[in-house]
């Protein structure tokens, strides 16, 4: 049988990072082929190449129905029969279901005047093929997430897509809604439409896939039929990233508990989260993207108010309603996206570091004492080895790794007792990663208690004393970091 799509030797290089390296993927009409891999394995990059968002490096080939082709842009991908159901669906909440389904075609055919009767008819037809019981007249934002997803799929069907890429389609669905989605995928197969499925959930992967392809670190690992592999086999293909860091775990636990979280819940964010954090300990929290890790720690820092549960600091009930009370309680938080949330890019290193505690440098009349600020800050720039060693440089002039050091310095300078670090080495090169790991460990040795969130298993294994695994908003596993493997952690992170 002729493949619908076949890609060979495709690579994609971004400045400083090779996101995909010589990968292969093919898919047949009416087949469900799942792309599997950890966060950062290169799945999204491949999807973006297939959908025309990125252009691959020179040298690879893309064939559609056996003919070599190029996918120039998003419109071109649709024209060649490839549709993507993005996690955010790319729909318009303010418009009707019918318009959302059919507008692509109206634009494609460049019809300047709309025939609403025809649009509603076409939309109803597409909804019928998908088997969705939705009125074409309804405004999209009034629908549940599951129904909005059906609309997105119906839209792909209406565009005569021959291949539909579903990126983590079940991540926001309830169990019954997932069943409905399986039904829809069966209907698509019956229409001879190929479905490329991206998911982390083992049960659904084995339930609906015909074949798997595994990526790891931007490389093609293996393709195989569902019958040829089992769950454990698939997990071990996914994990085992080669990057290794020196283990910095400290086996001795200080009995003093500084933070005690009990039964913390927030609807649609996390549920029944309980754990303790000891003095001088590094507690690693891992899990897949979307497991509720960031949402949970943001609750500890007063950014995301929980519905129920309690937080105790040094044995005393803490009421953290906003970031000020969190800082007063001795908590520091370093968010995931340092460029947008952690740094003021067009201010100097000194000003950034001084920001959380400006009061210290402020004189009688509310003006900042620059000299005093510079002296204190200079000390930190030196301690954390920020390069170049010039506190007057603008934050945007530093490399990613050094920016991250500035963010660390900013919060360390507040003498926080508890420091929460979300993805500390995101977008930082390997050398700087180990340096940052060492800084985190030094802090812990000096008595600071740290919560480190990371999706990178090698990193979590290198820095943590204990590890919590989160899955779908709950804590699904807790380990002391001794004789642990990536497989053991991954097993708790994926849904069984």
């Amino acid at each position: 049988m002729q493949t619908f799509l076949e890609i060979d030797h495709i690579s994609k290089t971004f400045p400083g990072v090779k996101a995909l390296s010589d990968v292969h993927f093919d898919i047949y009409p009416g087949e469900v082929h799942s792309l599997v891999g950890e966060n950062g394995a290169g799945k999204s990059t491949l999807i973006k190449i297939m959908s025309g968002v990125y252009q691959p490096d020179e040298g690879g080939t893309i064939r559609i129905n056996g003919k070599e082709t190029k996918i120039h842009n998003a419109m071109d991908a649709i024209r060649q029969g490839i549709a993507v159901i993005y996690q955010d669906f790319s729909l318009f909440g303010n418009l009707s279901v019918a318009e959302n389904i059919v507008i692509n075609q109206v634009i494609e055919k460049n019809r300047q005047v709309l025939n609403w009767k025809e649009i509603r008819k076409k939309a109803a037809e597409a909804l019928r093929i998908v088997g969705a019981d939705i009125s074409p007249l309804e405004t999209l934002e009034n629908l549940s997430v599951a129904k909005q997803q059906m609309v997105a799929i119906a839209s792909a069907v209406a565009q005569k897509a021959q291949m539909i890429i579903m990126d983590e389609p079940t991540s926001a669905l309830s169990t019954t809604e997932v069943e409905t989605l399986y039904g829809i995928i069966e209907k698509l197969k019956a229409e001879n439409i190929a479905v490329m499925f991206v998911s982390h959930k083992m049960d659904e992967l084995f339930r609906i896939s015909d074949r798997f392809t595994v990526f790891r670190d931007g490389q093609y690992i293996r393709s195989c039929k569902k019958e040829e592999i089992d769950r454990g086999g698939l997990i071990s293909l996914m994990v085992g990233r080669k990057i290794e860091f020196d283990s910095l775990a400290n086996p001795v636990q200080n009995p003093e508990v500084v933070l005690e979280v009990s039964h913390l819940s927030k609807k649609g964010n996390f549920k029944d989260v309980s754990f303790e954090l000891h003095k001088g300990e590094i507690l690693g929290i891992t899990g897949l993207v979307g497991a509720g890790r960031s949402e949970m720690v943001q609750a500890l820092f007063g950014l995301n108010r929980p519905d129920s549960g309690s937080v105790k600091i040094d044995g005393k009930e803490a009421h953290i309603d906003n970031t000020w009370s969190a800082v007063d309680a001795g908590i520091g938080y370093i968010p995931e996206s340092r460029q947008t949330q952690g740094l003021v890019l067009d201010k100097s290193v000194a000003e950034n570091i001084a920001l959380p505690q400006l009061k210290k440098y402020t004189g009688k009349f509310g003006f900042v004492n620059r000299k005093k600020q510079k002296e204190t800050v200079g000390e930190w720039v030196e301690k954390l080895d920020v390069r170049p060693r010039n506190e007057e440089l603008l934050a945007m002039q530093l490399s990613g790794g050094n920016q991250q050091k500035v963010v660390l310095a900013k919060w360390i300078a507040t003498n926080a007792k508890i420091l929460i670090v979300d993805e500390p080495t995101n977008g930082v090169d390997v050398g700087a990663k180990s340096e940052i790991h060492k800084i985190l460990r030094q802090l812990a040795d000096q008595g600071t208690s740290l919560i480190v969130i990371s999706s990178e298993l090698p990193e979590i294994l290198a820095v943590s004393d204990r590890i919590l695994v989160m899955r779908r908003g709950r804590i699904s596993g807790e380990f002391v970091n001794k004789d642990l493997t990536q497989e053991l952690i991954m097993d708790k992170a994926v849904v069984s």
Binding site: I78, T139, G268, R474
Partner: protein, 323 residues
């Protein structure tokens, strides 16, 4: 269920219009007299026309504060054409609309191509255009408009002033554009999600530019309509008009964050503002109070809009929690 939310919103505005009308009618018998009603409609047709032009801007998530300067420019040009060369009405109308369109084109290109935020871009053109107008005219009035233009100003069709007829015609045109043209649907799409609009293939830059050109054209039309009512041109009279115009559209249910708004709502918003002002005048309340009332209404309408959005955001499920 059909568009229940939008319908409900417009129904609410309609009910407020009715309630206020009843209150004013009870306290002052003049209000419901046909000549008062026609007068109110006539004098508010200018704001109405400009509000229809502002509507697509707000739907797309933008704003245009330059309309008050642009109408001054168009009115001055119309006035000069009428007095100096005695051009016929049709030519004056075309020129005025073309000048408005040109300012709109400048706004649209600055916003879509240079990616400068609409408030900054139109504040800039507002200042430039008004400065140019005042430099050119020294703020002097243009009077002595020709007789045939005066008779156009007082013309009626079946007892309805020509200005109101023009307003009604523009209501129909705007409604048709927004509902039945691809560009009109693009306006809603951009307001709903610009990134999705790009992904489905809308030419976002082009549509954005056209939106501001349309606004400019309605302003050019409004300039001639205004001149026909007052029969003179005072370059300084339009200052602050942009707030009244934006207020009408926002009161009519258009979100300042884009994505929603309708012609029906905007017309109701214009009516609401019109009868409120008329009520204040009939009650002999000083005109300064009008500005305060308008300001309060804008803050109120926008606050409700923002609060609603925040509440919806808060309800969003971020993680599929295992129950």
């Amino acid at each position: 269920m059909v568009k229940s939310l939008v319908k409900k919103r417009e129904f609410t505005i309609f009910m407020i219009v009715v309630v206020i009308a009843v209150v004013i009618a009870i306290s002052n018998s003049v209000f419901l007299r046909p000549d008062n009603i026609i007068d109110v409609l006539k004098s508010n047709s200018v704001i109405g026309i400009m509000a229809l032009g502002m509507l697509p801007v707000l739907i797309s998530g933008g704003i245009d504060v330059s309309v008050s300067s642009t109408i001054a420019l168009c009115a001055v040009i119309s006035g000069k054409l009428l007095t100096i060369s005695g051009a016929n009405l049709f030519v004056v109308l075309i020129v005025s609309i073309a000048v408005g369109a040109a300012v709109g084109l400048a706004n649209g290109l600055i916003i879509s191509k240079l990616k400068i935020s609409p408030i900054v871009a139109t504040l800039g053109t507002m200042s430039i255009v008004l400065g140019a107008v005042l430099y050119w005219t020294n703020g002097e009035w243009i009077t002595n408009l020709p007789e045939d233009f005066k008779s156009f100003g007082t013309a009626t069709v079946a007892g309805i002033p020509i200005q109101v007829i023009i307003f009604i015609a523009l209501i129909a045109v705007t409604a048709l554009i927004l509902k039945y043209t691809l560009v009109g649907r693009g306006v809603y799409a951009i307001g709903g999600s610009t990134s999705s609009a790009v992904r489905v293939g809308y030419n976002v830059d082009k549509i954005q530019t056209l939106i501001y050109v349309f606004t400019g054209m309605t302003v050019g039309l409004a300039a001639v309509v205004h001149t026909s009512i007052v029969q003179q041109v005072d370059p300084n009279t339009f200052t602050g008009l942009e707030m009244d115009v934006i207020a009408c559209v926002v009161i009519g249910g258009a979100s300042t964050m884009g994505g929603s708004g309708s012609v029906t709502g905007t017309v109701l918003g214009v009516l609401l503002m019109a009868i409120m002002k008329n009520g204040l005048i009939l009650a002999r309340i000083p005109t300064y109070w009008q500005d305060i009332v308008v300001g309060l209404i804008i803050v109120f309408a926008v606050s409700i809009d923002v609060l609603n959005r925040n509440r919806e955001q808060e309800k969003l499920v971020r993680v599929d929690v295992e129950e």
